[in-house]
Symmetry: C2
Subunit: 218 residues, 2 copies
Amino acid sequence: MRPTITAFANSPDRGRGLARDMRVRWALEEVGQPYDVRLVSFREMKEPAHRALQPFGQIPTYEEGDLALFETGAIVLHIAERHAGLLPADANARARAIAWMFAALNTVEPPILDREMASFTERDRAWYAERVPMLEERIRVRLAELSSRLGDADWLDGPFSAGDLLMVTVLRRIEGSALLDALPNLTAYIARGEARPAYKRAFEDQLAVFTNRSPAGS
Amino acid sequence: MRPTITAFANSPDRGRGLARDMRVRWALEEVGQPYDVRLVSFREMKEPAHRALQPFGQIPTYEEGDLALFETGAIVLHIAERHAGLLPADANARARAIAWMFAALNTVEPPILDREMASFTERDRAWYAERVPMLEERIRVRLAELSSRLGDADWLDGPFSAGDLLMVTVLRRIEGSALLDALPNLTAYIARGEARPAYKRAFEDQLAVFTNRSPAGS
């Protein structure tokens, strides 16, 4: 059954692939599952029809027959459970790959999102310059721990998995930052993710939404 | 195989059951799985032996034969997949319960943790009084959305699940706050969780660690 996901009609990242539909698109491309996309405006996201699918008024959602899912982690896990390619067959290795999914979303992403949110909501506050080093130190600690665990491996635990997929998309939020550039094994890790054909297809598809949206068609 | 989890030797919450081992203990009690606990000090948590189990130097960890897991969400999911009682049998209902697990950890908990962290690290800063309302507004939005979805149901989606288990433990972090007390269906939801026999057993066990640790044995 061909699933339908939702994505921003006007992504605030202007097609840089940082919106969370990118994670679901990439997972679907990795497993070779075609899908449809329904674009929603910021206004529609907060209306009852969308909230029936996503109680917190966000994207993406995932609809497949009778099933309606929200939360990117849960959607990627659902895809990974139903198709080969995103989770190892060995039970223990599978559990560890799922641990990396949670680690990406719960341990590594929160300080990165906090830094990002402060740059949107507190940039004009008197305290901003003083808070930024505190926020960046929290990111630095997590990145150092992640870098240390990754070492010179290609992926976090054996072959590429849904854990790597989520971790790469989380790290991409600070791609090009001094924080990340200080850890070459992490920048190489992101580059390996971005080099995957499934990543490239997903990226092009989400970028096309932004490009086509432009009145000039550019 | 009897698993071993790690927990704080000296929990900073003084036995209030807010440390993340409580989530794993509760899950193990729900499914009737006995377990052992290894207590670790703050110093030990940051040492290589513990980081081999938990790359970010945190608790809990979960060891079961050859398997070593970290991330509370992944551990609770692992327990829920191997025992009856925490996930519905129906495939779609199961996927939705997992979505609530991710929602608890990724959507509801982050603003609650941010508020908590600010109270620890920014209380003496000049900007603290001005930031608190910003932090609380983010929590208020999420709680209102959650309250609206829960309505007058007992649990988030059908019978009690691992999603409810994680959501109740997340909400307990702000138990007694005006933010939460403004939403009686959420306070009743927490009370239903806390009334479960498995919750009570888990709570008593983690409290005993704190009580026994006290030099006075009190």
